[in-house]
Amino acid sequence: MRALRLAWLTVVRQPARSCLGILGVAAVGALLFDMLLLSRGLILSFRDLLDRAGFDVRVVASDTLPFNGPRLEDATALARLIASLPEVEAVQQVRVADAETASGDFRRRIEFVGADPQARPMWTIVAGQDIAGRGEAALVINRHLAETLRLSPGSSMSLTGRCGEAQGAPPLAFTVAGIAEFPFDTATADTVAGALSAAGRLCGRTTEDTADLLVVRSRPDAGADAAAAAIRRARRDVHVVTSDDLVQQFNRTQFSYFRQISVVLATVTLFFGFLLIAVLLTVSVNQHLGEIATLRAIGLTRRRVVSGIVWESAMLVGAGGILALPLGTALSVWLDRILRSMPGVPTDLHFFVFEPRALVIHALLLAMAAIAAAAYPVRIVAALPIAATLRREAVS
């Protein structure tokens, strides 16, 4: 009769208590699992969005975030210089302009992304065609705009630049070539993409050679860090960030709150789970001291009896932990939906992202909690005075 079997029999002899203990661990374990998903979810999702564009280095004029600072001057020459570096596979200029279009009686504000039509696009076509080879009047628009204005491939669209003091430039006519998904679009964003030159023409600045951002793809054998270093050597006056740098920067600032909250909640949750399993086991042991003393009296070693307690803890926490996974997954979908409704959050950005590492850490943490929870009841059992307990049980 091994300790495992005895532990199993102890657990099943009181099914209500055991089921409640397992359910409680499941609830706590689900929350713990979700906090582990949250701890790196934003970083993984953000990284995925950055990688989706297909570029791993970004060049801007200053150390502010892209599109928030001054523009790069002589962008074409700069792009040519960067493209000539051996570590670089491709470079693309990106220029963003504010525009608007008529929507009934209102003017609808649009973000116009200008990029080289021949280069690999940073967006994903979901209907129609891309702008490549279709001239300066071709546009791709995002789903939200297409649904709101009931546009489809082939539709016409007129855009007017919002150019500050240069307001007054004539509207430009475009043709919708396709509908695309833009990685960083929010649910209500209205985004279009077109030729780089069209971005300048919106405000009547056809001769200006500036760009908000250069996106660079490094050669696979060189890597982003080598490409970034080469660009910095070639042009010390620009600011170069790799995708890793951006992720780290966001991790330190914008995402840090969720990382902190996930650590705090995971700690509190784990402590809660440990405390309650410890109480369950302690009360259970105290209720069965007579049986435990009997086992010791008939010759079971202290180690054998103690291992039964540890197995009991492992069973409760193990069963609860397994049940926690589907519960936690469902809960994470719900929580993710809540957080993604925050204004300004890209629709494809997720807060809770599964990675196998989270499973492993979850299992390890629960295992530690199970062992820690068994510590006090184990101490009771190990130090149990057999004779005194038998005497007490005889007269109680």
Partner: protein, 284 residues
């Protein structure tokens, strides 16, 4: 009351270069800087600094630090260090004038208005009608920032719901065990002639006392934790923002949940035993 031609308040400037400089013959204009900026750059009251909007430092102007202030924490940006400076509006406009691309100049982005009669909504409508293109908004009106906090509140509420469910399950498990310990006592009472109702009344009273005591202990623990959490996050983000606050409403809501849960758990657990045959209760 805030008027905003769609851009943010002009007191945050895009400082591309901030250096200490030697005092000159021309008295530099005075500015106020945040404590965080002062600490990060080793500045004190009286320090003379150069500010420019150009990344290369072109068209820089000298300013004298007249004071250091603790910024009002911005819950939307608490994770970013508040490296801000405040200057007179003419000085800011003069600084921006050096920017080559007028599209990068923000100009006046908002005007704060204090009303004598405090009817902000009516005033906003009136001005919008008189000056088309101007957007007025009462400072108490909800905006995107409010939506963000609503979402965060829903998130925390969801977490709280899961925690409460887990706690309720465990509470029931504990009550089942505690009632089981008193199985033979209950059996003897029933043998003597106590009715189920009488025993449940006793359980109810005990459950209420335990639930109240437990809830009170939990609230005291939460109050102590509040200091810890706020202390940690304020240190971590170098801010005076309060992240966690146990308000009377929170206390009452906790009591309103914990006490009925505790009583219900003890009643449910007791009833599962009282339903059993009397002899089953007293037999070992």
């Amino acid at each position: 009351m805030v008027f905003q031609p769609t851009m943010t308040a002009a007191f945050l400037i895009s400082v591309a270069l901030l250096t200490q400089a030697s005092p000159t013959a021309v008295e530099p204009a005075g500015i106020l800087i945040t404590r965080q900026l002062a600490e990060s750059r080793g500045l004190t009251v009286g320090s003379v600094v150069k500010l420019a909007t150009d990344p290369a430092g072109a068209h820089a102007r000298l300013f004298r630090v007249d004071g250091i202030y603790e910024p009002t924490p911005d819950p939307m940006h608490f994770a970013q260090p508040q490296l801000d400076a405040r200057m007179h509006l003419p000085d800011l406009l003069a600084l921006e004038a050096g920017m080559p691309d007028e599209r990068d100049r923000r100009g006046v982005t908002s005007i704060n208005v204090a009303l004598s009669d405090r009817d902000a909504e009516r005033f906003a409508l009136d001005v919008a009608a008189r000056v088309p293109g101007l957007v007025g908004r009462a400072t108490s009106a909800p905006d995107d920032r409010t939506n963000t906090f609503i979402v965060v509140e829903r998130f925390h509420l969801a977490i709280a719901i899961v925690t409460v469910v887990g706690s309720a399950v465990f509470l029931l498990a504990l009550m089942v065990m505690l009632v089981d310990e008193r199985r033979s006592t209950v059996g003897i009472l029933r043998l003597i002639g106590f009715t189920r109702r009488r025993i449940l009344l006793q359980v109810f009273i005990e459950g209420a006392v335990i639930a109240l005591a437990g809830a009170a202990a939990g609230i005291l623990f939460a109050l102590a934790s509040q200091r810890l959490f706020n202390g940690f996050f304020q240190w971590r983000y170098d801010t005076t923002l309060v992240f966690l606050r146990i308000t009377p409403s929170v206390v009452w809501r906790s009591l309103a949940m914990a006490v009925p849960f505790g009583i219900a758990a003890s009643l449910v657990a007791s009833w599962t035993f009282l339903r059993q045959q009397l002899l089953a209760l007293i037999r070992r």
